[in-house]
Assembly symmetry: C2
Amino acid sequence: MTINSFNPTPRILMGPGPSDVHPRILQAMARPTIGHLDPQFIIMMDEIKQLLQETFITQNQLTIPVSAPGSSGMETCFVNLVEPGDKIIVCQNGVFGGRMKENVERCGGTAIMVEDEWGQAVDPQKLEDALKANPDAKAVAFVQAETSTGALSDAETLCRIAHEYDCLTIVDAVTSLGGSPLKVDEWGIDAVYSGTQKCLSCTPGLSPVSFSERAQESIKNVKQRVQSWFLDMNLVMGYWGAGTKRAYHHTAPVNALYALHESLVMLQEEGLENSWKRHSDYHQALKAGFEAMGISFVVPAGSRLPQLNAVNIPEGIDDATVRSALLNRYNLEIGAGLGALAGKVWRIGLMGNSASASNVLLCLGALEAVLSELNAPIQQGVAISAAQKVMIAKGR
Amino acid sequence: MTINSFNPTPRILMGPGPSDVHPRILQAMARPTIGHLDPQFIIMMDEIKQLLQETFITQNQLTIPVSAPGSSGMETCFVNLVEPGDKIIVCQNGVFGGRMKENVERCGGTAIMVEDEWGQAVDPQKLEDALKANPDAKAVAFVQAETSTGALSDAETLCRIAHEYDCLTIVDAVTSLGGSPLKVDEWGIDAVYSGTQKCLSCTPGLSPVSFSERAQESIKNVKQRVQSWFLDMNLVMGYWGAGTKRAYHHTAPVNALYALHESLVMLQEEGLENSWKRHSDYHQALKAGFEAMGISFVVPAGSRLPQLNAVNIPEGIDDATVRSALLNRYNLEIGAGLGALAGKVWRIGLMGNSASASNVLLCLGALEAVLSELNAPIQQGVAISAAQKVMIAKGR
């Protein structure tokens, strides 16, 4: 069967990622491919490292993008730090904490689970109790920004507690990097990973990671070889390390790195704190719209991620019907619930380039239209003006 | 420090990959990012699977691109098929056989090495001897197309022997896929991996893999969970599997997959056998030019890969000086030697879009100019016409 070129109908991406990718980033991705050991490319790699350090707010030398999606960044952190027999405390309040547990176990470690309800932030007291009960734990792992629920946990406090018990900290910042405060050095995060397709608004496929000096010491002193050759930081560093002479490890995804570089340049132009504020402002506007409509949030106020808004599906409304209508009529993608929340919630992303005034209005207007047609129990005709008021007040 | 957008000087890529990427593929990569669960995207995924089946010449249902570079495809094959205690026969005749050994060992297996000199094809007799001596071996792994030397091994014969001893076969086809014959079903290959940045002429970053029914049985029956979560085919299949309902595993590298799709569409347009012939024809032309110049090949005639030409650096000539001159004056990249061959050979790729008449002439002309200036012991003024004659004879 003859297959033709693929020309997708463009979408507005307000799901849990990928987010809308700015044309500048797409154009960067289409620049001519050059060799992964080309001197020009080495300079660009150094720039990416510097820009990632600025974005993670860290001086960590070992700050690079892993050549695969966010899940591989998670795996990079675990395979390099967890050895058979290690005890790792994993805080779970959504899907991705569960994936951390999987990773610990596949490395031969034991995961001590600290469970919180999905939608709640991680409870620091529960972590402290677990640390007291497990004085031999090597590390504490948690998700700062749970993409499955939109819950924001207090990474600073959790890291402080972990360090009091002499544990390394492994933090999932897939959805937070670039969109809300994340201060790797100030908070004492030892290993952190993120994704490119969330608040960096880049194409999916890479996973920025950063390791503290303390984590690097641990990596250098592993008793056996890291179980993954591809993700072994001791080897990866030969390519991403200092100096102009780089050892071949694997072939870098050249054009994907062009895109990441451009997205980080754009973030530098905007300013990291300005980006955090933009995400917060549009979240306030979207929230005002939802509240006016009578749609409630999954996560309690105070623990909500601005960039990922999980809301409860109104009673009697079928999840897939609504998402299909939004996609087919408005080319608007919003996210379904994951795991235990499947069918019960929508996840609405305001990430990176998607955190814009036009997206807020489109989302509220389109959702109101579709829900009204389905006779959902919502308040009509008030959402847009509620959001507009917030945006005007914020100067947006 | 303020960092600007990256605008690389375009290069002609005649190293061991990436190869020249056709503008159609770069344009495809820059199409608007859509969601990885978008119905449009699911259709495109199915097309990629079909096109990859055609390219691997297989009916294997489990034929997909791994969301990371070729090295991760290698790791995918090993982590899914090798369990602790397994004995795997690894044939090594270059760098990548050594990487296979690393993978076996990191999976807790034992690698029984069958060694051949770098530059030679794998010796089937040595494999048979190893199989006789190790009747409990589970699999045989070898590199069909050694990118480090340009040696082509007889995959059909090696697989036949392996199956006689009831072993699975794991084959590295990173440099062969699309450029020279590779017949997965006919030859009885059980697990095969490749890369996008070689003879598919796509951007680097993905690794097509294919698993036979027999390999899939083995994967389903592993005694313990696959050590890599990211590369666990049991999980990956939930996303790439049949039907329209796909389970989220990781976020697919959407735009990289657009590029792969386009490169496979282009290969389908050309025809797989026409592509093999094109690679062979331009190899003959390049070879005629080198031989006229007095530059010799590393690999004996009969085992040479058309798409990767490793040639001996003329006596007294410094490797890096020549490669820098080619890059700086002609924007031409050729490859250095790897491992034991570093400083001794150049690797000249004629892969995918790089296998063209203009590249053959540029490479010979530029190399002759640089070597002449350095007073290298070569024959001047004859290479281009020798290559031209071959191309005219081939109708190129």
